[in-house]
Symmetry: C2
């Protein structure tokens, strides 16, 4: 079968690899019908050292179950399924509390533990299939596929930002970042009824989509100037909730400048830093809370599915490019160059 | 009148100072009947440079209103009142949202703006008296005074830790620190129904009081050993909520080791650090939240008052020493030496 491999920074290749096969009785083998490139894939695309490669890529997909291990009971051959970006058993202490991203099953992981599997490929072995996969009540060629595919990661991640931030109808929200996750955070804040949604971004095609998703204001300035602009839009007080969808230190510092006393900074962009200010001069003095983390996507999928199936929300609009497997290397480069927002792959 | 002044580290003196008087129409003049030394007073007691002194000390008190400015309407001469540790108007945007510690009135401050006033004295001028003071329905010599005095800071601070941490009857709590705030955090977690309350501390008289206040377990070990002990007590998963009542980096690091995935670290010990780990290796990976800050005491007093008046809770038990003004310097030293837990002052 064919699959994408990253050999190093800027070097993605599509090659023939051994066919994925069932290894454990809890596995499912899935023929992938739709996959995509994630913003987090761009971090290794910018920095992977050749000695750490090649790595199989991709953790977001929809596909048709082709085979199942003997213990799998919830999906069977022929089912169309969506997979969240992390593998979980859906039965452990943390899964039961809605945090499958912290599943304690030995086989649970972020696909990073599955070194010979990746979703930017023709097929994939899915560990803990019962806990991980969710059946979809549509055909593989449904027009809803792009929106359904966002449930595997990007929409659930944006939604997690908004839920973790406690967004409701009394909330003024600022979203930092006009990437796909930031735009999904806008859509999610809108869905939760936010009173105001300020989107910080400078790429007009993206901020226009943000306005379509429910942003009430767009601020293109960054740094001090951006902070001032948001303060002005929020009556001088700052935002109740800042959804930080970038992951860099400047984005965190910007969030500190924007959040109001008693507010929340909810982070879903994987932090590219470890230490940052949290003392009296930053979070503590005004009771500012910090929330967020990797999205427990599996816990959100069933709740978000009805609105996607009904077309009430169309998160699939974040895909502005589509390619086959051969086009994956170009897809990475286009996303890195910000020519594409998010690339959908039809293997 | 007589008042306590801190001239530098380890150097507290009681001296004659000009009488406090009404300066603004919103002021009240209060004759202090009960006051105390705060754990935060020990920070300057350990580090104040002589060139930054002398500083008037004390921000927790009960007293009798002696005079009021022309605009004061809620308290009058002869009323017994308790003051929260911060001055606020109780009407601004943040006060109305329950965060008087972030009051935006120009006269609002943490008493640090009132350089010629302090509560370890015979009398005090209280700015924004209507917003700040709360009338007490008892006499100045009531046996309830110690417990009522804790409403000015230490009890409300411990309570804020527990409220900010979201403690409820499904919560396993660990409290870091057996100082007065830590013990109040135990009492507060108990009041909110916590399923388990582990108190980390090594001073037996204090941890015994913690057990009386509702701690279910005491862990005297610190660092890695302490973390292991708490993990063992919590089924290997860690605590849902860690109430960090110390404020040092080691205490924060200990909290990181103890909190479980999806849990909360709620800080009320003023951080003696600015930067600390919050990235993938600490908070982010397992969706651990960070909460807390200075206690909005004024917003809690009325709600906690009935249980104190009825004797249902007895937070005043944290006072293990009592002195007059002359004994204040010794009181500081005894608290610094951990000979006294918290010193009550009867001027």
């Amino acid at each position: 079968m064919r699959a994408s491999l990253m050999y190093g920074a800027g070097d993605v290749r599509v090659e023939n690899v051994p066919d994925s096969v069932i290894k454990y009785p809890t596995d499912a083998l899935v023929r992938i019908t739709a996959s995509c490139v994630c913003g987090t894939d761009l971090w290794p695309y910018a920095s992977l050292k050749p000695e750490d490669g090649p790595a199989r890529m991709g953790h977001e997909f929809i596909g048709i179950v082709e085979d199942t291990g003997s213990e799998v009971t919830t999906v069977s051959r022929g089912d169309l399924v969506v997979s969240p970006w992390s593998i979980s058993d859906n039965t452990c202490e943390f899964c039961r509390q809605g945090l499958p991203s912290s599943c304690i099953h030995p086989q649970a992981n972020f696909w990073d533990g599955e070194t010979d599997e990746g979703a930017q490929a023709e097929a994939i072995r899915v560990p803990l299939a019962d806990g991980t996969l969710v059946k979809l009540p549509v055909e593989a060629d449904s027009a809803l596929i792009p929106s359904l595919l966002t449930l595997s990661d990007v929409f659930c991640t944006g939604y997690h930002a908004a839920v973790s931030g406690g967004v409701d109808e009394r909330t003024r929200v600022t979203v930092i970042g006009d990437g796909a996750v930031g735009l999904m955070a806008v859509l999610s804040a809108k869905r939760l009824g936010a009173e105001q949604i300020v989107l910080m971004g400078r790429h007009q095609a993206r901020t226009d989509l943000g306005l379509e998703f429910g942003a009430t204001d767009v601020v293109s300035a960054r740094g001090e100037e951006g902070v001032e602009a948001v303060r002005e839009l929020t009556g001088g007080y700052g935002s109740h909730v800042v959804l930080e969808a970038v992951g860099t230190r400047p984005a965190y510092d910007q969030a500190l400048g924007i959040v109001r006393p008693g507010g929340v900074i909810s982070r879903v962009g994987a932090p590219q830093y470890e230490e940052a200010p949290i003392g009296i001069g930053s979070l503590f003095r005004h009771n500012i809370r910090l929330a967020g983390g990797p999205s427990p996507a599996r816990a959100y999928i069933e709740g978000l599915l009805p609105d996607v199936l009904s077309g009430t929300i169309e998160p699939g609009k974040v895909f502005d490019a589509i390619t086959d497997l051969d086009g994956v290397p170009t897809g990475y480069q286009d996303m890195a160059d910000r020519k594409s927002l998010k690339v959908l792959i039809k293997p």
